[in-house]
Symmetry: C2
Subunit: 359 residues, 2 copies
């Protein structure tokens, strides 16, 4: 696959291989001063190398790191990183590069959007999840004790660099995190893509031409949805939240120790189960959903009542009642008068939670 | 003066008297749930009354308060208020009303812009400073140990309600805070307005028809400048920062115990002095600047070197060097190739600081 270029609003999106060594990164940073933000693990693996590349191009580069993991997506880590930047006297003429998975791209985006009321942002996702989901569409944020992504902004990078080389070093489990979001996107608006995934079967987990084509397709779909409804005001963008009302509640129950992909896989099945029980979704389609997502589930027990209560905190809630994205067939999310989500009877929601707990 | 209506981007701006009792506030809140944010002092004075007005209109209203004063414009107060909102299970369908001075409108704006990635905001400034400056133009933010407004966003209220009745209860000192910003705006782009202010002399401090006309004019000018350059990317908006490179550094030196108006008055004089020394500004014009601003100064000693160093942290800095907005006559800020600010020789900056210290 050759280098592939797209633009979205003012973001240049560059996709391909072997991008980090090239002049692409250098060109993406328009300022002399650059902060390269990565977690400890990614800093060790790629951060120092990229710092060298930029230093060769005569940039002043500060490599800032934070502890690996979801717990770093917090207001206190944000504050500590801001303070480190301020202590170096960095002003608005500083480019922030977020290098890493979704935690890093979300955190970097949020910092860039509020540092001096906004500094230039470049994102280099290193995980599949960040490539197809976190780094596309401008959502930034941190978690709070009350839930995920509850505090954040909409802020677009100037440049998004998707370098497939990063995928080579990912363990299959991490790849799975991203694949679940690809499957989710396919289920809500692209039957063909879902069918392509079904056909691949186990070779879905191999980083090769097919996977890259699927990633490219998923990115394109997500950009199209986001372009329709950037700040999630019209409703359309909500379809990207399919599986997430349940998924986020599960993550909260497991104190963010359940992988996001696993939680969303459970969530997509649960929310498809609701559609099945309201007679929106055919049983044959529901079975296909379960079959494709089964490899991503890790069996765990949870308290149904507690998970149910957490759902009300979801950002799609209306009058403190949880709402769900529902599909009526593979590749088709229901519009519900442009809201793209709806409340569901308590009994059906509880049945869905029972169903996934027994899977 | 009758109720005066303007719109800026998607903000409705309503100016006039006796607005709080009317349906204006009720109509401004499109959601059933409302958070009314005010400091302890304003909450006691007006908060409970407004809560009652909204409750009569069948809104669920939570009155959240925080300690009065600039120290509350912090990341920790923001976090605590967010947590209180989350503990009540409030989601995206909540309108946040910021009722108070600049601290409150800046804090409310920042919270609204990041809570669930953005909730509807209504601003009701109660101080002159907030009416003519803080609440207009979408700048939000908090201070950090490194400086003022270093972390924040650009976020516009849906409705801005400027009720001149609030001014009646303000002490002259608080009125002065706002007048300095009006004078600053006049100096950078409206000679007529400056002349009007000169003619008023001491009656400038009387809340009457003339003051209201001046406020209305200042708001219109600020809106025009902001419309040209909303996110301060083009440069034009920087003229609103006249006097603030020095002013902010002074405030930092005095640990934010020097009133903002006083600091900016010193700053405007210092930065006019620089223009005088570079032979941009005539001595007669400079003398008029000093004369109008003198009533706003409170004599205090400061360390020149320390204040000089703080300036480099200013958001207009380039390559870690402070920059200043300069005027070449009353009502005329210089464009400097569209940057609207420039660096100034160290010796001249130090002379300017000496000059204001001796005033």
């Amino acid at each position: 696959m050759k280098t592939h270029l797209m633009t979205f609003q003012n973001t240049s999106i560059i996709m391909g291989e072997d991008l980090t060594e090239s002049r692409i990164l250098e060109d993406a940073c328009k300022t002399n001063t650059v902060v390269l933000l990565a977690d400890n693990y990614v800093a060790e693996l790629y951060g120092k190398k990229l710092q060298g590349v930029l230093q060769k191009a005569a940039k002043e580069v500060f490599l800032l790191t934070f502890p690996e993991g979801e717990a770093s997506k917090s207001r206190s880590v944000k504050e500590s990183l801001e303070d480190q930047m301020q202590a170096k006297g960095l002003g608005r003429d500083t480019t922030l590069i977020g290098l890493g998975g979704g935690v890093t791209t979300d955190l970097a985006g949020f910092i860039a959007s509020t540092y001096c009321r906004g500094i230039p942002l470049v994102l280099m996702p290193t995980s599949l999840l960040a490539m197809v989901d976190a780094s596309i569409g401008g959502k930034t944020g941190v978690n709070t004790p009350y839930g995920k992504n509850l505090i954040g902004t909409f802020y677009l990078p100037q440049t998004l660099i998707i370098d497939f080389d990063f995928l080579q070093s990912l363990p299959p489990k991490s790849l799975g995190e991203g694949l679940v979001e690809v499957i989710k996107v396919a289920l809500t608006c692209d039957e063909d893509l879902f069918h392509q995934i079904e056909l691949l079967g186990e070779s879905l987990f191999k980083v090769g031409h097919s996977l890259k084509e699927i990633v490219k397709k998923a990115c394109e779909i997500k950009l199209k949805v986001v372009a329709e409804d950037f700040e999630e005001k019209e409703g359309m963008r909500r379809i990207l939240n399919f599986g997430h009302t349940v998924g986020h509640a599960l993550e909260k129950f497991f104190k963010y120790e359940m992988p996001h992909g696993c939680a969303v896989a459970f969530g997509v099945i649960a929310e498809s189960y609701m559609a099945l029980e309201i007679s929106l979704l055919k049983k044959t389609h529901f079975d296909r959903v379960v079959k494709v997502l089964k490899p991503f589930l890790e069996k765990r027990n949870f308290d149904i009542k507690e998970v149910y209560e957490y759902m009300a905190l979801d950002k799609k809630s209306k009058n403190q009642e949880a709402r769900f994205v529902l599909i009526d067939s593979i590749g088709q999310a229901l519009p519900f008068d442009g809201e793209y989500c709806t409340s569901v009877e308590q009994e059906i929601v509880l049945n869905a939670l029972h169903f996934i707990r027994e899977l």
